[in-house]
Symmetry: C2
Subunit: 360 residues, 2 copies
């Protein structure tokens, strides 16, 4: 059956691999001969055990998660992690703010106790990320929080934090799985699934196992990393369908060359899009400084802002969806996650060049 698919540049929920959707469609009424949809399976059943175990194993293989770290499948998105992390790891943490999500993280942490902002890119409208080896750190901070890629500002460190003994805690929502990362550098990584992993409603948490011992008494059980780890993310019913879909996504990329192949494809796609921006004689202007340009989220403005609405309107007519910038910052943004086909990016770049030529 042939279905016309959209050129979907949404920042999240975002585009998924069409082969994964086809597999989910095929198994909708009976997964692996069970006679049940994954949505109908007891989370304590053998068929579901196999699904969650495969999702974890494939997450470890695709992302490169070492045995020193536990993998948790939770709910509530990154926003609930903003609260859970200080509840579990303690207050008095350092925060590095490179965009809107980092701001939300420290705001929520302050409700749970002290939180120090040791760097912020706010004065420069969040265009860059600092050198993490040269930060002025707080003595005795419980951990240091970073947002590896800021989805709204398109600012990515493009490197892992240093192995300097710091417990780095990292919101990796919009860049996880986009390039090879060294998970041993992180004390805790969390990511809402709805960009590079799968459907909304699932949060992946990767936590160094010794941190589970730090969890104080009295944390509400659903918000307690130790309880979730001890129960294999099944203290209560987990978001089974989203975990299944995430497993299909990890398996999809493993079958196609793994993280190295994904990284190479992302580098090429980003080069095409930034090429269209840089080659436009400032008709289009990127937001982030070059060293911190995200390969996942590409925010840009038109040099003549009166052309923004006509650009978005015409783009939509050409079938390029969700190019409007986040309501908090305006302008335009193209999100080009792992599953974004290269031909969509090329077509968008061509359209941008054509529009610039006609209106510039």
């Amino acid at each position: 059956m042939s279905v016309k698919r959209a050129a979907n540049f949404s920042a999240g929920p975002g585009v998924l691999p069409v082969e994964v959707l086809e597999k989910a469609r095929e198994e909708m009424l009976s997964q692996a001969g069970s006679g049940m949809s994954v949505m109908e399976m007891s989370h304590r059943s053998k068929p579901y055990d196999a699904i969650q175990a495969a999702a974890e194993a494939d997450a470890r293989a695709f992302l490169g998660i070492p045995d020193s770290h536990a993998v948790l499948f939770l709910q509530g998105g990154a926003s609930l992690q903003f609260t859970m992390i200080p509840k579990n790891l303690g207050g008095g943490a350092d925060f590095v703010t490179t965009g809107s999500w980092g701001q939300k993280a420290i705001e929520a942490a302050r409700l749970e106790g002290a939180a120090q902002e040791i760097w912020t890119g706010k004065a420069d409208k969040f265009r860059s990320a600092p050198d993490l080896t040269a930060l002025d750190r707080t003595e005795g901070a419980a951990y240091t929080h970073i947002t590896l890629n800021e989805t709204i500002q398109g600012v990515d460190y493009m490197t892992d934090p240093p192995a300097d003994g710091t417990d780095w805690v990292c919101d990796m929502s919009s860049t996880i799985g986009s390039r090879k990362m060294d998970f041993s550098r992180y004390a805790l990584v969390y990511a809402g699934a709805q960009k590079n992993i799968g459907p909304a409603g699932l949060t992946l948490v990767v936590i160094r196992k010794d941190l589970l011992e730090r969890v104080p008494e009295g944390v509400p059980p659903m918000l307690d990393f130790r309880i979730q780890a001890e129960n294999d993310s099944r203290y209560n019913t987990p978001p089974c369908w989203s975990i299944y879909m995430a497993g299909l996504v990890f398996r999809h990329w493993l079958d196609r060359g793994g993280i190295e192949a994904v990284e190479a494809a992302n580098e090429a796609k980003a080069a095409v899009l930034y090429g269209a921006i840089d080659g436009s004689a400032r008709f289009y202007r990127g937001h982030a400084v070059e060293a911190n340009r995200s390969r996942m989220n590409v925010p840009f403005v038109l040099g003549d802002d009166s052309l923004t609405d006509p650009f978005l309107k015409e783009a939509k007519e050409h079938g390029f969806l969700e190019l409007k910038g986040h309501r908090s910052v305006g302008g335009c943004r193209a999100s080009i996650y792992n599953a974004q086909p290269a031909e969509n990016v090329k077509a968008l770049a061509d359209f941008m060049a054509d529009f610039a030529q006609r209106k510039g």
Copy 2:
């Protein structure tokens, strides 16, 4: 395409209407001509707006939720509500405990402040529910919590609480939508979706709007009912796919006679199964007292417990899945939610009669 479907008696996640799964399958690569799966849509897009609006409208129509109450689509299951409710409505509440889930609710509430257990069925192994008009209440209690149907013990009040000015807070997870209820009697109703509503990973919360004004300052934003209501359940990315599926389920039943038709079908199915138990000369024994027998979860034991394992084994060979009782109580349990086909219940009853005749 013909697919053999299982006879799935899981207590949750449980069976869904096959027509709903077929619709989801049909729309997997392109919902309503959008060229996107619902899993790929921005939660701020027009196509998704329409999906969530329809899900809420159909929830209101099917369940009979009045305008005085807000409908929230949240995450974390009933277990997170055990924590959210006292955080939002205050401590010092009264709890009525009719089974395992009620026990978990009061345990979590105690972490947030005082909580009084004003009735418990524990001494009798949770076989009954009390008369809610005759409880000994605590002066000034913030609210009174009940579990309308205990999934593990199969104990259901089979009636709404009295309109006596009490703020009744109710875990309705495993009985919501199974019979007509008067939502105006409840201050707050919550339900994990994975029994009668849709996939796991969605929690429906129905809250009387004036209670939103009671929420104190400083509640973590993701756990704050007022913030969730003000943001139309989209403070962050909601579980879009699960909301979509829930909408399809509500629409499915509305198109088939609504709650009255569902209630009549459930009554008939439960009569068949309890008939098999009651007609077995105590070969099978139900758990709950007759007045509180759940129509959704039917736990039973075999009079001769040495026959339990052979019964479960043979049932499985006949294709009856998930009949084992909850690991905390043992025995057997058949869950017969809205989407459980009547022919499955009849076939199970026939098998039970045959087994009893051969082994009794």
